[in-house]
């Protein structure tokens, strides 16, 4: 290890040489590499966390640049998936760590493989459905995880030590809010500043876990409202004992076992819908590109293919997944998918 590189961090008493060594031998899974994921990955890469496994299903758009700190205009033009761009940038930031990008939609079928061998899971996702899936896998395999969520100028974070502290289901016993009942980044907007605050707290909590400082982990739900400058803590240290949680006490993993969950999602702040057909077939993008050239404008790289037609843009991935831009109506997106890709 290059001693000078981490000298200021090592000088911080709670880290020290032993903490730095522990960070270097750790693996963190970052689920999502948008706004929160950018901050978290950037911070943990610079801190010298040995392996960063970053997972993201999306590609870059101009409207991401306002808050997704790892990316720039050239990255948007590259049409590359976020995970790929992020990995390249993180390796330039710190060539001594391992960065593993995964361009997939995290779901019940792949999350156990993705979280295998990791020491912490960082939530940088944009919806509660997937957070309950993360909560299931984390509780099942006793992996600490750190919830973070932001909207407007508001954000919250909570660190979950499975089977020790309250889990997400302890707090939200009824599961995620029903689709369409919550404001989104589209309707309420989102400021970069709150992302940086919450992402930094999450990264710092991860560093406590990975450097052998679990005793310093927050026992509160932290709530930040930046526009009114309100910082609040709700003590959740007794919550696990107070509730009969189906997940962490009943060991019932509804999202991981596929009893709960959906196969389409409106993407936060994107005017787009992702379709992830449960029995999807791999797509031959080359073949598809040549057959769709007469329909609209087709562009393609190693990781994805885009079709611009009417006011919509369909982005197709080799695993059969699609992101349909230009609508937030799942039915419209499904129709377009059926029309151009097939069922």
């Amino acid at each position: 290890m290059n001693n000078d590189r981490y000298s200021r961090q090592v000088r911080y008493p709670a880290i020290g040489d032993a903490g730095q060594e522990a960070l270097g031998q750790s693996t963190a899974l970052i689920v999502g590499c948008g706004a929160l994921g950018s901050v978290i990955a950037n911070t943990l890469a610079r801190a010298g966390v040995g392996t960063l496994r970053i997972v993201d299903r999306d590609f870059l758009e101009t409207s991401n640049l306002q808050r997704q700190m790892l990316y720039d205009e050239a990255d948007v033009e590259s049409n590359l998936p976020k995970a790929i761009v992020a990995a390249e940038k993180l390796r330039r930031i710190n060539s001594s760590i391992v960065v593993e990008p995964h361009v997939v939609d995290v779901d019940a079928a792949n999350i156990e493989a993705l979280s295998k061998g990791v020491d912490v899971i960082l939530d940088a996702t944009d919806n509660f459905e997937i957070r309950f899936l993360i909560n299931d896998v984390a509780v099942k395999h006793s992996i600490p995880w750190i919830y973070g969520g932001c909207l407007g100028a508001d954000g919250q974070t909570m660190t979950i030590l499975p089977n020790t502290s309250a889990c997400l289901r302890c707090l939200m016993l009824e599961g995620p809010p029903l689709p369409g009942t919550m404001p989104t980044c589209d309707s309420a907007g989102i400021l970069a500043s709150i992302i940086n605050v919450i992402g930094s707290i999450q990264a710092n909590e991860a560093m406590k876990i990975l450097s052998g400082n679990k005793q310093s982990i927050s026992k509160s739900l932290t709530i930040v409202e930046l526009w009114q400058n309100q910082f609040r803590q709700m003590d959740v240290s007794k919550l696990r004992d107070q509730v009969d949680c189906p997940t962490c006490k009943g060991r019932q993993f509804d999202w991981l076992d596929g009893r709960q969950g959906s196969h389409s999602a409106v993407l936060c702040g994107r005017n787009a819908v992702q379709l992830s057909p449960p029995e999807r077939q791999p797509l031959d993008l080359e073949k598809l590109a040549s057959s769709l050239e007469s329909v609209g404008q087709v562009t393609r790289n190693r990781f994805l293919m885009k079709l611009a037609v009417d006011d919509f843009e369909l982005t197709l991935f080799p695993d059969g997944r699609a992101i349909i831009n230009g609508t937030e109506d799942v039915a419209v997106a499904r129709k377009l998918y059926a029309q151009y890709v097939g069922n």
Binding site: G34, A35, G149, C150, G175, P177, T181, I190
Partner: protein, 85 residues
């Protein structure tokens, strides 16, 4: 956010019931006497699946909201959990 709550709370005042006031995130809110947390959340039109509620600095688990009876001048902190990122 709170301005919206207050506007909504005033319209749902029920005539003929005894009233009391509680403190929600620093603002006074009128509720029926013996109102539960659940009734207050309904009055404020909040999404109860994504909420955390403290009464007098004690977190009240979601499954107690229907039975937890509020008292005059109780101090509540209510936060809607957000999902973006």
């Amino acid at each position: 956010m709170l301005a919206i709550w207050l506007k909504r709370s005033s319209k749902s005042a029920t005539i003929g019931t005894m009233k009391m006031e509680v403190n929600v995130n620093g603002d006074r809110v009128e509720v029926p006497e013996n109102a539960t947390i659940e009734q207050l959340l309904g009055q404020l039109d909040l999404n109860t699946r994504a909420i955390a509620v403290e009464v007098n600095e004690q977190l009240q688990p979601r499954d107690t909201h229907g039975t937890f009876v509020l008292n005059q001048d109780d101090r509540l902190e209510i936060v809607t959990l957000v999902g973006g990122g």
